[in-house]
Amino acid sequence: MFALSLRGIATRKLRTALTAFAVVLGVALVSGTYLLTDTINHAFDEVFQTANRGVDVVVTPSRLFDQGNDNASVTPNPLPASVLDQVRRVPGVALAAGSVFLPGQIYDKDDDPLITSGAPMFISDTTPRRFDPLVYVEGHPPQAANEVALDKFSADKAGYELGDTVPISGEGPQERFRLVGIAKFGDANSLGGAAIAVVLPPVAQRLLDLHDEFTTIQVAAAPGTSPNELAAAIRAVLPARAATVRTGEQQAKSDSQDIKDNLSFLRTFLFVFAGIALFVGGFLIANTFSITVAQRVREFALLRIIGANRGQVMRAVIGEALLIGLVGSLVGLLAGFVIAPALKGLFKALGADLPSSGIVLETRTIVVSLLIGTIITLVSALMPALRATRVPPMAALQEAASLPRGRTARWRTPLAAAVALLGAALVLLGLFGSASGGDAAALVGAGAAVIFIGVGLLASHIVKPLSLAVGLPVERLRGVSGRLARENASRNPRRTASTSAALMIGVAFVAFVTIFAAGLKASIADAVNVGLKGQLIVQSSNFQPVPAAASRTLDEVPGVGTVSGIRFSKAIVAGKGRPTVTGVDPTTIDDVFKVDWTEGSPATLIALAPGEAVVSKDWADGHDVRVGQQLALTSPTEARLTATVTGIYDDKANLLADVTLPNAVVIRDFNVPGSAFLMATTTPGEDVSTVRDRAERSVRARYPALKVQTEDEFVSDQKNQINRLLALVYVLLALTLLIALFGILNTLFLTIHERTRELGMLRAIGTSRKQVKQMVRWEAVITAQIGAVLGVVLGAIFAVLVTIPLESEGFTISIPIGQLIVLLVLAGLFGVVAAIWPARRAARLDVLQALAYE
């Protein structure tokens, strides 16, 4: 039977290739994701191993909070010099040195931030040679206060050469340094894509507003003392809460793990799209096998007549699926090597440059890629294979052999409806049930998949009306070829339904993200309209904090009224979890920002003093917090403080987080010197854009990384960020659409093959090649439109469902009708593209051969 599978594949090369392609793309995305993320992780492993080479023990401040992906600053206090003294006195310590490594700004020759991709920039200081991971390829480490060394990547990127002036800023205004050294990080040009400026320790202390404090203490063991022994000895003298002590090796792993954890979302994100692509691929495979099984009824019947049992028929079909799955997966695995750099390039184009060197192929990548592709193919071919076994031997002798209806045939529609309802239930459970975070997302995802299957099965019922609706205008436009296209599209509703279902899924996701993003943009605009009273917003162009001193600079600009800074951090509140903390300036916040009060009034905020807090309605409701209650907070720097709740706000603009404290407290006890951003009013009568220009000149003269924006500029800036993410999602969804395209292509080929004689007759009685092409093209357009209409409807329903829970948080649902119409038009064009090749083939059929075709 296996030989028969092979023969089957050999005789249907084109279809096999097209079917395999459905697996190839999905698997390529899986393997590409693994390759990319493994390579990135490996790059970071190497970087941190290099960074900790020669270091036996590392002492760092203990972290209460993980640095999340939000704005909240949760940096613990640096280690004071006293800790370094304590470490130095530990027996077995040969050498101990403190160093700093903190975010700062490095600028290029035009005074713009050197890196704008979102990768961080750091200021560090020179360390004893033994600990120094830098290998100087040009020049030497800085030796004077006005000297700096850069990593080779940054120097190359900005075109800096030795002797050039490099502007740098930390917590204060920009300062200028002379470049005296360019260094590699071991073998790498940079520390994982980040930029690093190395200056003398006192300079670093001044730039970063530190006072003989360190972010790291590196220790070398005396001969005869092992790193583990030394770590234990140091741990014994330091209070556990104040510092974390690790061996160099552990530190490298821990640093690397932190980065990996932060990047794991990338893998998950890409896997979501791989999953969608594989799911759509499965649809395509199931559809192709269904059609070919139907076309091969006589063949199967003949096999049965000559003595093949059902199992053997089953094995013939499954064997073919197995081969297609294996080969497709293998090609997909290899295609991953193309996808991985393509993904990296995609992220780079969108502003996120990820480090990598070489490419890392793990055994797991091979195993998972091959297994997932093969299993998906087998599962998808299972139902058609079962149907093939039901072909009775008699079918070989009958005139028009067709597949017998299965015992379950009459249950098909109720079953499909039940499946769709089950999916809807899962989605609703995920959205409104008690599951949280990842579990809820998984429920919604699984529910969506189940809905797609259900709707894909049900869709056959609406193929006729839909193709009538879509086809009638076509018929009016194109006459007989339009008419035949419409009839052909609805001739086999199930086939058309499952072909368009593949497109439906892709379009549903596109529609979903389009609607969601439109809502997000509308929400931002709304939030700014609702909350913002100031006219100007100042933030850094690369997500780094706005230095405290910049606030004073802005304040001095003529025409600028009140300036108010916002800070974010996190706290542990006894019995109430880990809320996000907002720091505001009570005296000025009310001038620039408006918030609604459930309990209290703007006066409450103005009067907010240290020892007091106002909290959000959502957080208060969720944690049973009332006005007058005392909160016991622990800050990321382990400061313990109490605050009495004096008011509860309902911030429609979502600026103020769970707990709002005075800035003075957040600066002192939460170690958040810089603001996330500043808001400012302009004095009445002044032209806002004139003030903006003036403010921008003043602020950028000292802090070139900052940008001053009007309300409109801020909103469009935020929208642009959303658009960039949207572009990334569209590109990834395009892969899914490509699979759907091949699905339509494949179905067209198969149906043209089926209708060879009809085509021959049509040509014989005078149908031109052009008309034949039109007929095929419009059939494809109608099929694509059915998928697109269903997809847009499903996508819109999903988007509305998902955003309903967000509405209370100020999310505005906005349906971008124009964009959805564009989507439908594009889907039509999509059909045109899918039909190019099949239409050409149909038009080229030799009339006589086609007429003689059985």
């Binding site: 006459g479 007989v480 008419r483 035949l484 009839e487 052909n488 001739r491 004689r757 009809e758 021959g760 007759m761 049509l762 040509r763 014989a764 009685i765 005078g766 149908t767 031109s768 090649r769 008309q771 009339v847 006589l848 007429l851």
Partner: protein
């Protein structure tokens, strides 16, 4: 009945394959089919009768010789012009009906006009529909019609565009005897009442007997060309010449 030839063939040759394996399906056929004539082309399997029809109808390209339909030389036409010629000047009836299953009987009948983008002449269509006795079946799909009914639809389809010539390829090959005689009577009627020129390829002597003229082919050559006569006479003719 005029003697103007509607279809002519001069020294028609059609060779399949090359070199030693080459087969001459047509080996110098010269033929004139006058307007309003019903001609049967007969011959044993492999005699070249189907190839002759394909070449005369512009479906196949001869390797030598000239074919004209209604005064137009087919050899000078490109594929597009040839398609238009088939559309406007030729009607086809096939052994296996070849109706479009997705269209109703009426739509199938009107299909050639739709393809040509021409308006349907209602009176003409009604006359044809009446002739082929399909009045109450017009809204049915082919799958709901018997073989005989389907072939009658096919006849109507061939006549609807008032072609210069109708080619029928074994039109009774898939029909029982009663349906066969109905279809043959229809063809006869179209010649007698509508003045239609009809060429029918058949190996059935009973079918050929209804024609005005019988052309018999053997090994790619015309071996007989004369009046049809009765079925028995055609039988005898076939035995002697082929």
């Amino acid at each position: 009945m005029t003697a103007t030839p509607i279809v002519t063939a001069v020294d028609l040759r059609r060779r399949f394959g090359e070199g030693e394996a080459a087969v001459d399906a047509l080996d110098g056929v010269t033929l004139e089919l006058p307007a309003g004539a019903f001609t049967a082309i007969m011959g044993p399997s492999g005699s070249g009768k189907s190839t002759l029809m394909h070449c005369l109808a512009g479906l196949d390209k001869p390797t030598g010789g000239i074919v004209t339909i209604d005064g137009i030389e087919l050899g000078t036409l490109d594929d597009k012009k040839l398609t238009e010629l088939r559309r406007d000047k030729v009607g086809f009836i096939f052994q296996s009906f070849n109706l479009l299953p997705v269209l109703t009987a009426q739509e199938n009948i009107e299909l050639p006009l739709k393809i040509a983008g021409r308006d349907v002449d209602g009176a003409w269509r009604d006359q044809i529909v009446q002739t082929v006795h399909l009045g109450d079946r017009l809204t049915h799909h082919p799958a709901e019609l018997s073989g005989g009914q389907q072939q009658r639809v096919a006849v109507a389809r061939a006549l609807i565009s008032k072609p210069a010539v109708v080619f029928a390829d074994e039109p009774t090959g898939n029909l029982d005897s009663q349906s066969s005689s109905e279809v043959l009577r229809l063809l006869r009627q179209s010649v007698d009442e509508l003045g239609q020129t009809v060429v029918m390829v058949t190996h059935d002597a009973n079918a050929a007997a209804i024609a005005d003229r019988v052309v018999v082919l053997a090994d790619g050559k015309i071996v007989h060309d004369g009046a049809a006569g009765s079925a028995d006479e055609v039988h005898d003719l076939l035995r002697t010449v082929a």
